[in-house]
Symmetry: C2
Subunit: 336 residues, 2 copies
């Protein structure tokens, strides 16, 4: 069962193993720098579905079914699935997973969802509430654009600070047996709101949340950035990543030596015309569940911090003049 | 730490105590049959806020702050808050709670949220992942109407099967110490979809999910309906409640002796013109956190099943011709 370390951090006492994971993406992501690492890449971003929302549901279902297939598991072998996404009422998760008959706990953490679902699954596994759990999330460029911004047919101009929602999904299988990759610590994030209102600059809105959680983790565990191979945020992009480094620097925490961001890694920022980088729940999910997990298994990484960040606004709140509250959840993941 | 009982049910091993709870409502609810039991009733459903969404956020914040005040707790005394609601991207929770600086795990279970948040909090408490946790949710008639159906100014006709979204919030404080009211068992629901498409008949869509979870609980625990004082669903309303009884009857489970539904209890169905009854996350939340908790504390109830139900569709999914997947989570709550 988890032990509380400091104010915000949980230490897993048993082996909470990330047994296996699957990261899947759309066409543009497969053409980016990490293209070769994804487990499945769809050339047709509609996945043969009649709508973008149904395509996103299909992404999430594909990720979960592929994960179970690779591990020779039936639906009934999974005790609980933690899932969430960006769409109103989380319909990519609920419609994508409705036929699986797996006990379901819907999560909402915006783009922090991959860390939140793994965190929750870890507590359930570590405590014995579940023997085997799946954590999954997704995003889709076209469903997100028309829900949060404008219909893609409109062809609106994008600001330099804007990020490109990743079409992708990541699913991770967690269990208690010994394995190669484990969740060791988890820090639950708090909502931060420094009153950034620019919905085209999510990185700036989310950077303070990432800084808060990272600071809390280092304080709780009495560790420092160089104790880790990699400090990896979810989708701060170019603007938010720079801000995160600056905020932490002011607190005398220098992460510049071993820091990266999934939103900076998944696309070639110049060549793929994505402005400030990738975003969306599927960004950190697909990068973590494919590239990062493979690096861990191959011993190229051994001790990392995975800090997925989420912007907790809606189009309605922005239209009502509100700022953008944000959150970040952190996982310390190690190679055994 | 929780013990798995059967396939779907968790047994809490330590004392998981619902230490205290607060149920707050709007004007119409305060005029209903349970009016005298609510902890706070607002006469102004806008709570002095400039929008319905901000009013709903204020409801949720009021419930949480009142709960902490009554228990002489500071924000820093709460290890984690589990919160969710019906609005797109769960903005009543995120905006309502953003200033509290409490570690936050957003949940999405539609109207099953009160059971889901207490369930998740119970696992965290029982396992030691949290010493003290809050579970909270809300709904608001006016924010729900304009988001899910039509602007209230339109004055659309309501069908006889339609339900009335409760303006209300419920918040519960959980900890591990001995107390009067405990969470003993919890059953995680599965998504059910019997292809009901009528968005004006949520009760029919949700009844199969409630039946599935109740059936799983009785099977896992080898108990029967008459072992409990009350089997209480969240917001099935008149149509859904009848269907639930019929579905379970076909499986030789007769709940007719001790069954009720928060949606049937909170309003005078005829006198208050609410057609099939109350609905919304705030329905089961306000009824459970005020009336039911008071009945438990006063020994009028001693052993109940609380089964909150959620319809997991969105306006977008309905517009695309989709049916309504549903879920129900169950808690067995006892008076010590």
């Amino acid at each position: 069962m988890p032990e509380r370390i400091g104010k915000y951090t949980l230490k897993m006492k048993n082996n909470v193993t990330i047994r296996s994971s699957v990261g899947i993406v759309g066409k543009k992501e497969s053409e980016g720098p990490l293209g070769e690492y994804f487990d499945i890449a769809f050339k047709d971003n509609k996945l043969g579905q009649p709508s973008w929302e149904k395509a996103e549901s299909a992404l999430q279902k594909t990720a979960v079914c592929e994960l179970m297939k690779r591990n020779n598991l039936e639906n009934a072998d999974i005790d609980v699935i933690f899932a969430g996404d960006l769409l109103n009422q989380c319909i990519s998760s609920t419609f994508g997973l409705r036929e699986l008959n797996i006990p379901f706990l819907g999560q909402y953490g915006a783009c922090s969802t991959m860390a939140q679902t793994i965190l929750s699954a870890s507590v359930f596994i570590d405590s014995g509430a579940a023997e085997r759990a799946i954590a999954v999330t997704s995003s889709h460029f076209c469903s997100a654009e028309r829900q949060f911004r404008l219909p893609i047919e409109y062809g609106g101009q994008r600001t330099p600070t804007a990020q490109w929602t990743v079409t992708g999904s990541g699913a991770a299988l967690l269990d208690k047996s010994e394995g190669e990759v484990s969740v060791k610590y988890a820090t639950i994030g708090r909502i931060n709101d420094l009153k950034v209102k620019d919905a085209n600059n999510m990185g700036a809105a989310m950077a303070p949340a990432a800084a808060d959680t990272i600071y809390n983790f280092f304080t709780d565990t009495n560790t420092k950035p160089t104790d880790y191979d990699l400090i990896l945020t979810g989708d701060l992009g170019k603007v938010g990543s720079q801000l995160l480094k600056e905020i932490l620097q002011r607190q005398n925490i220098d992460i510049s030596q071993n820091y990266n961001d999934c939103g900076l890694m998944i696309f070639d920022l110049e060549g793929q015309d994505v402005h400030s980088g990738g975003s969306g729940c599927g960004c950190s999910a697909s990068v973590f569940c494919s590239y990062i997990m493979k690096q861990l298994i191959e011993n190229k990484l051994r001790n990392i911090l995975f800090v997925a960040t989420g912007a907790l606004m809606s189009p309605t709140s922005s239209q009502q003049g509100e700022s953008i509250p944000s959150i970040a959840h952190l996982l310390n993941i190690i190679k055994n």
